[in-house]
């Protein structure tokens, strides 16, 4: 185990190097990192790295001995990561390197930040963010699916409605985070991090308006902008071409929703607010559902 100080003020490099050398193996002497961190707290956080070589109990003890919040980059198994998250109260965020895409996202996102100060700000933002667990999103999706089950419709329809809800929510989070300077799209293990200011809201609603099941997501952040996705959906709606595995798959979620819905309505006011409304036909027969055309309104 090495303490990996990924976020650091260049002026502290020499000091960190000296201290890191003096720390040696991390276990028993880790507490002295507190001193080291005094300089770093001002900048936001410590980023530590853990791998298979580190005995988990001692690492947890070390983490708990730190008074500063820690972002951990882990190459452990998911099960071990869960143990860490549960055992270390000050572990604010965890990047799971087993999840190839996500860790690449993290590296890519942070790699683009050239200013060390800015990196520190981003780290600080991560620590201050309100965390919405994906488990909470699943609970919401379970509710949507159960509501859909109570409506008339073929057996697969509740799953499709769940998929639309899932994609609308996901799209809003990802698109929202990408379009804002103060956000970077990050997933830590099984957690999606969402940064909203106090006055900002994201609302998800669903209702039945026969013959449709209507799903709607709206945000008051004004951050959402979908020009690329608009163009893609427009392209697919005009022709017979399908999205293909060799494509960049940008907008895949909305593309799936487009294929399921009867109507997809975008009301986007850049800088102010946006609402996406999806109407799913409550068809009893799958054939009727499959033969429907989708309309897009912008």
């Amino acid at each position: 185990m090495t303490l990996h100080l990924a976020i650091q003020d260049p002026s502290l490099t020499a000091e960190i190097s000296t201290l890191a050398q003096s720390l040696g193996q991390i276990g028993a002497t880790y507490k002295s990192v507190k001193d080291l961190n005094l300089a770093l707290i001002k900048e936001g956080a410590v980023v530590a790295e853990v791998n298979e070589a580190e005995p988990l109990p001692s690492f947890c003890a070390t983490m708990n001995s730190l008074t500063v919040p820690v972002i951990l980059v882990s190459t452990l198994s998911r099960a071990q990561n869960l143990v860490l998250l549960k055992s270390c109260p000050n572990l604010k965020a965890l990047c799971d390197r087993h999840s190839r895409t996500l860790s690449e996202q993290l590296r890519s996102a942070l790699g683009k930040v050239t200013s060390e100060k800015r990196k520190a700000e981003l780290a600080h933002w991560l620590l201050e963010s309100e965390v919405l667990n994906s488990g909470q999103i699943h609970e919401l999706l379970d509710k949507v699916e159960n509501l859909a089950k109570q409506q008339p419709g073929f057996s697969n329809l509740p799953k499709l409605i769940r998929t639309v809800a899932s994609e609308l929510i996901r799209n809003l989070i990802i698109a929202g985070s990408k379009s804002r300077e103060d956000q970077i799209p990050l997933n830590f293990g099984q957690t999606i991090i969402l940064n909203l200011k106090e006055s900002e809201k994201i609302l998800f609603r669903c209702r039945v308006e026969a013959p449709y099941f209507v799903l709607q997501v709206s945000d008051s952040t004004g951050a959402l902008n979908y020009p690329e996705i608009f163009n893609k959906l427009h392209k697919y709606s005009l022709g017979t071409e399908k999205m293909a595995t060799g494509d960049d798959l940008i907008g895949l979620g909305l593309y799936l929703a487009y294929n399921i819905c009867s109507e997809l309505i975008f009301d986007v006011r850049p800088g102010a607010a946006s609402t996406i409304t999806a109407k799913v036909l409550l068809s009893k027969k799958n054939r009727d559902f499959d033969s429907q055309k989708t309309s897009i309104q912008l």
Binding site: R100, K159, L160, R170, K242, M243, T245, L249, L256, K284
Partner: protein
Amino acid sequence: MKAMRLFTFTATATGKRLEIKIAGHLDEESEMKIVQPTGFDEIEINLSGVRIINSCGVRQWIRWVGDMPKNVRYQLVGCPKIFVDSANMISGFIPKGWIVQSVEVPYFCESCENVTLSRANTASGVLETPPKMPCSKCDSHAELDVEPGHYLSAIKAAHGSGGES
């Protein structure tokens, strides 16, 4: 509900044959394991337990099939409708040369509006299932509730026998 959501991935090797079973929700939390390219002639992937596929699941699947060993005979078994639908939405979702042995097909009963699910062989590129079958609830005639040409579009494309536009 939680148990149904659980993603499971199991692989059992018998000689040069590998059987993979994938079940549950194929989404951002599912972990598709890499199959090492070590001497398998045939890999059968049983998808009958897959319940949900979202866009993260689609991406996972595409990445996973792209990493699978080459020069192996692949067979997909028990593809649920949600998988077939995904394949029909995204070109190349089932790689060329992979054989879809069987799919789930719904039958709709006009009398009681029940849906009976059945399994149909598709290895020949044709939906081998009757146009009607007894409803599992009221025993009336339930009608095949998919348009075979559309339903098999992606499968035919993978088999190299036409299909996808």
